[in-house]
């Protein structure tokens, strides 16, 4: 079995076509890594600079009324995750900046896709793209003749005459091909890792290292699937031509048609509400109460009455707190809760839309590795939602602190301002991306799908091979 593996490995290396193709794939991988790093650095720099600018602007405001500051607000910029240079995931299609202000939750704007023409729809040249679609193609070209060629030249019978079983031959071949694929992919991944960890921003980051290791492992399983699958198809098909055409057909179906069809079907089945409609509903509920029986004006009046009662005074002027500030805080708490419900419903809709594609991962390994890869890279939808929620948590905290400041100014606050140094004591937005421990539970389905595929193929596929005809 070892000698079969060695034979496949060596004859693969001697095959000029394979050498040319793998040189091409290697070159693409290196280009994608370098380009990925360059664009990662530019974007990261731009966003960091913008965040520092707005943070400085916030701290250096003149004396203002706190509610003016709440309207002045701030921006949150989404930093890119370290591994997104390998797999950009949905990053190009999500916004990069959100304006944080009192009373409303704004959309995250300025996505990369909005800043380019429809060319971006052809796909982006990232390491993940090469690994997910091009390497499998290379594997197909490498393995389609595994059995058919031996059969066509009659060497299979000779091999079996020496007492080896079909299963042993198959495992030997699988091992040989895996070695050849590793030879192409490993250097590129090693280079990517080296590039990542030589950058000072990632030095001694264990979370990133763990993500990278899992990233590598998942792709190892993914490639193994393709090697085994191709060998099985090669064994079951009558001719090399039939094997190749079958495999290419499966690649097109799994890599091009199915992902698009499931994503589109999901979007048709669970339509998304527009931002305009959602904002109108939020406004309605915040004004008239979630159930329509608790209008904003009544709530405000109740707050004033409660304050007067609490401090045992009969007019607003005698209160130690600003009624407007307290009302503002209560209004913000109310509307934030309404927003939260609507955003949760929106994200639930997105999840329903994506679920079809996630479950398709059980049928199509490409649709399993894709979410897994971006999840590990920190560039998937869940990580994006985490940022959105962090930005909202900061916005809410900031606005409520400002409302608190306003309340403490007492009666007649509108005529006065707070000192410039007040703004320096407020926290600025600093985003910490979630760690792997947080991300893993979301990736259960794709991991299960990949492992299931690996087990089923190794067991059922190899059983099929041992039943196959020799001649």
């Amino acid at each position: 079995m070892k000698s079969i593996a060695q034979k496949e490995f060596i004859s693969t290396l001697r095959d000029r076509r394979f050498v040319v193709l793998s040189a091409l794939v290697l070159a693409l991988l290196l280009t994608a890594t370098l380009v990925g790093r360059a664009s990662f650095r530019t974007l990261q720099r731009e966003r960091q600079l913008a965040q520092t600018t707005v943070n400085d602007q916030f701290r250096n405001q003149p004396a203002r009324h706190p509610h003016r500051v709440a309207h002045y607000g701030s921006f949150a910029f989404r930093p890119r995750s370290g591994l997104s240079l390998l797999d950009a995931g949905v990053d190009s299609f999500t916004g990069s900046a959100v304006y944080l202000e009192a009373h409303q939750q704004n959309s995250v704007n300025f996505s990369q896709a909005q800043q380019s023409g429809s060319l971006i729809r052809f796909g982006e040249m990232t390491v993940a793209f090469v690994l997910q679609l091009l390497v499998p193609l290379l594997i197909i070209f490498l393995c389609f003749g595994a059995f058919t060629q031996e059969r066509e030249t009659g060497t299979l019978q000779l091999l079996l005459a020496q007492g080896t079983t079909l299963r042993q031959v198959a495992w030997g071949k699988i091992r040989g091909y895996c070695q050849a694929v590793a030879l192409v992919v490993a250097p590129a991944l090693a280079l990517a890792a080296a590039l990542l960890f030589t950058g000072e921003e990632f030095a001694s980051n264990t979370d990133l290292l763990a993500r990278l290791v899992l990233f590598g492992l998942s792709y190892a399983v993914y490639f193994f699937l393709f090697v085994v699958g191709s060998v099985v198809v090669s064994a079951r098909q009558a001719s090399s031509r039939a094997a190749l055409v079958t495999l290419l057909g499966l690649w097109i179906l799994g890599g091009i048609i199915l992902p698009k069809a499931t994503a589109n079907l999901g979007a048709s089945l669970y339509p998304t509400i527009t931002k305009a409609q959602m904002d109108a509903e939020v406004h309605e509920e915040a004004q008239h109460g979630v159930n329509g029986h608790d209008p904003h004006d009544q709530r405000a009046a109740a707050i004033k009455a409660a304050l007067l009662k609490k401090y045992g005074v009969d007019s607003e002027e005698k209160l130690p707190v600003s009624v407007a500030g307290v009302q503002m805080a209560a209004g913000e708490a109310y509307s934030a809760r309404v927003y939260q419900q609507h955003f949760a419903a929106l994200n639930a809709t997105y999840e329903q839309q994506n679920r079809l594609s996630d479950w398709a991962g059980l049928l199509n390994p490409y649709q399993a590795i894709r979410p897994l890869s971006m999840g590990l890279a920190g560039s998937d939808f869940t990580h994006y939602v985490h940022f959105q929620q962090a930005a909202e948590a900061y916005r809410y905290g900031l606005v409520q602190r400002l409302n608190g400041l306003q309340a403490s100014m007492g009666y007649g606050d509108k005529e006065r301002r707070l000192d410039a140094h007040t703004w320096r004591e407020l926290p600025v937005f600093a985003y910490r991306a979630p760690n792997l421990h947080w991300a893993l539970p979301h990736l259960f389905l794709p991991v299960a799908a990949l492992l299931l595929w690996a087990m089923v193929l190794s067991w059922l596929g190899l059983r099929l091979i041992s039943k196959t005809s020799i001649a």
């Binding site: 896709a113 931002k275 939808f381």
Partner: protein, 460 residues
């Protein structure tokens, strides 16, 4: 010629007998129909969403009528009242959705500064937009070449591998006629499919019968011909079926996948756009500084732009709406050149792609289809310009009320300007695309013919 038709009719019998090929054609037909269904329903959904916007404006007005029962300061209305600038699709967009799901199809506007409203995005599922649209253009640009490859990869090699070619060439027929008949037959089938799907798509989307109908058909035809040209070149090369399949799929991979994604990277690097975020940050800074500056300074700057309001009363009170809207507008003015540079930068990116798309007929076809559907970046930029003009007209409507201190009455809601914009097909882009495709087709067919002439077809 008679021999050609005999061969042609035998190809037909052969094709009908080959279950796999019929299945593939049926599959393409089915995916094409799904693409048409998806595109038309998606556009219909966008139309329905846009149709609900006037209702939202109406609800907003009803609420304001309760909030301000009598005549009131127009500044209050300008602040609380919102309307929409809407980007209606052209019927052709249903066949080629382009970026209509990435860019918002409406902008909600108030009388406040324009630039912190203009770039708001709509709710979109990034996983969905990443995966892209399954529209008819996708089927024609991506999948049709794959069908052509499947039909042609063993054009002669199968006959050779089965030993039939020897028999065939022993007959009094010229090898070129055999090749011609086989290719013509397959081209007939694929073209019929492409035209059928296009026809169904056009009827379903309800497109008007104008020059764009023949343009779309010519585009699909030329694009198919290009791929038959590639198949001819590979066939003339005369290798084994497996080698042909790999070569053809390799060409597909390069032209439909690799060149576009590499070009995308190149264009982004060659034409960096000044980030839109910079201008919104600057605008916020300008607007909020307006609160802290002396009112006369702000008003004098504003009167420099609008001298017709110079003779209005001097603002002595702590707050006046006309002062508020003056510094909102000055905030827009401060970033006007940045905003123009941003839009121009995006347009330049698009133009550069259009110049360089000669490297891949797939990009030519896709950009032309999108240009025909009015669903690409230029259409969105045109919409943004239109929305900006609408914002101007809103200001022109409110300014006399604000500066002459005329109260806003309930009747004024109906007098407020409305906005509508329907994207236009970019016909110059389509014409350039057609001529570039024609050039590619001529080049590849010429190469094929030369190869067929030079390398005589051998039975073994």
């Amino acid at each position: 010629m008679r021999v050609f038709w005999i061969l042609f009719s035998y190809e037909w019998r052969h094709f009908r007998a080959a279950k796999g090929l019929v299945l593939l054609c049926g599959l393409l037909l089915a995916t094409g129909l799904y693409g048409i269904y998806y595109g038309t329903t998606e556009i219909e959904r966008q139309r329905q969403q846009l149709a609900t916007l006037p209702e939202l404006t109406h609800r907003n007005v009803e609420e304001l009528k309760v909030k301000f029962p009598g005549p009131t300061d127009a500044g209050d209305i300008g602040y609380y009242h919102s309307t929409f600038a809407v980007h209606h699709p052209d019927p052709w967009a249903a066949l080629s959705l382009g970026l209509r799901d990435v860019n918002p199809t409406y902008v909600k506007l108030r009388l406040l500064g324009l630039h912190n409203q203009l770039y708001a995005s709509d709710n979109t599922n990034p996983m969905k937009t990443l995966t892209g649209n399954f529209d008819l253009a996708f089927v024609l640009v991506y999948l049709l070449p794959l069908l052509i490859i499947a039909l042609c990869f063993n054009l002669l090699s199968a006959e050779r591998e089965e030993g039939i070619l020897t028999l065939l060439l022993a007959q009094p027929v010229r090898p070129a006629t055999v090749l011609g008949a086989k290719l013509a037959f397959r081209a007939g089938i694929v073209m019929a499919l492409a035209w059928l799907l296009s026809g169904v798509g056009m009827a379903w989307a309800g497109v008007p019968l104008d020059i764009r109908v023949p343009s779309w058909l010519a585009m699909s035809t030329l694009y198919c011909l290009f791929w038959f040209g590639v198949a001819l070149v590979v066939t003339a090369w005369q290798r084994a079926s497996a080698v042909n399949a790999v070569a053809l799929l390799g060409v597909w991979l390069v032209l439909v996948v690799l060149v576009p994604s590499l070009l995308s990277l190149g264009v982004a690097a060659a034409r960096p756009v000044p980030q839109g975020i910079e201008l919104t940050i600057r605008q916020r800074e300008e607007i909020h500084a307006g609160w802290d500056k002396p009112k006369t300074q702000t008003m004098n700057r504003f009167f420099g732009l609008y001298p017709q309001w110079r003779d209005t009363t001097i603002i002595r009170e702590r707050f006046a709406w006309r002062w508020y809207y003056a510094f909102q507008h000055l905030g827009d003015q401060a970033v006007a050149s940045q905003a123009r540079a941003y839009a121009q930068g995006l347009q330049q990116r698009y133009d550069l792609v259009e110049t360089l798309n000669l490297f891949s007929p797939a990009i030519i076809a896709q950009t032309s289809f999108n240009a025909l559907g009015g669903s690409d970046l230029p259409a969105h930029l045109a919409f943004q310009r239109s929305a900006a003009r609408y914002h101007d007209s809103l200001r022109a409507f409110y300014y006399p009320l604000l500066f002459r201190k005329v109260d806003f009455t309930h009747a004024d809601y109906a007098r407020e300007p409305q906005h509508t914009f329907t994207s236009q097909s970019e016909m110059p882009t389509v014409r350039r695309g057609l001529s570039k495709l024609l050039l590619s087709v001529t080049a590849v067919l010429a190469l094929g013919f030369v190869l067929v002439r030079r390398r005589s077809i051998l039975p073994h």
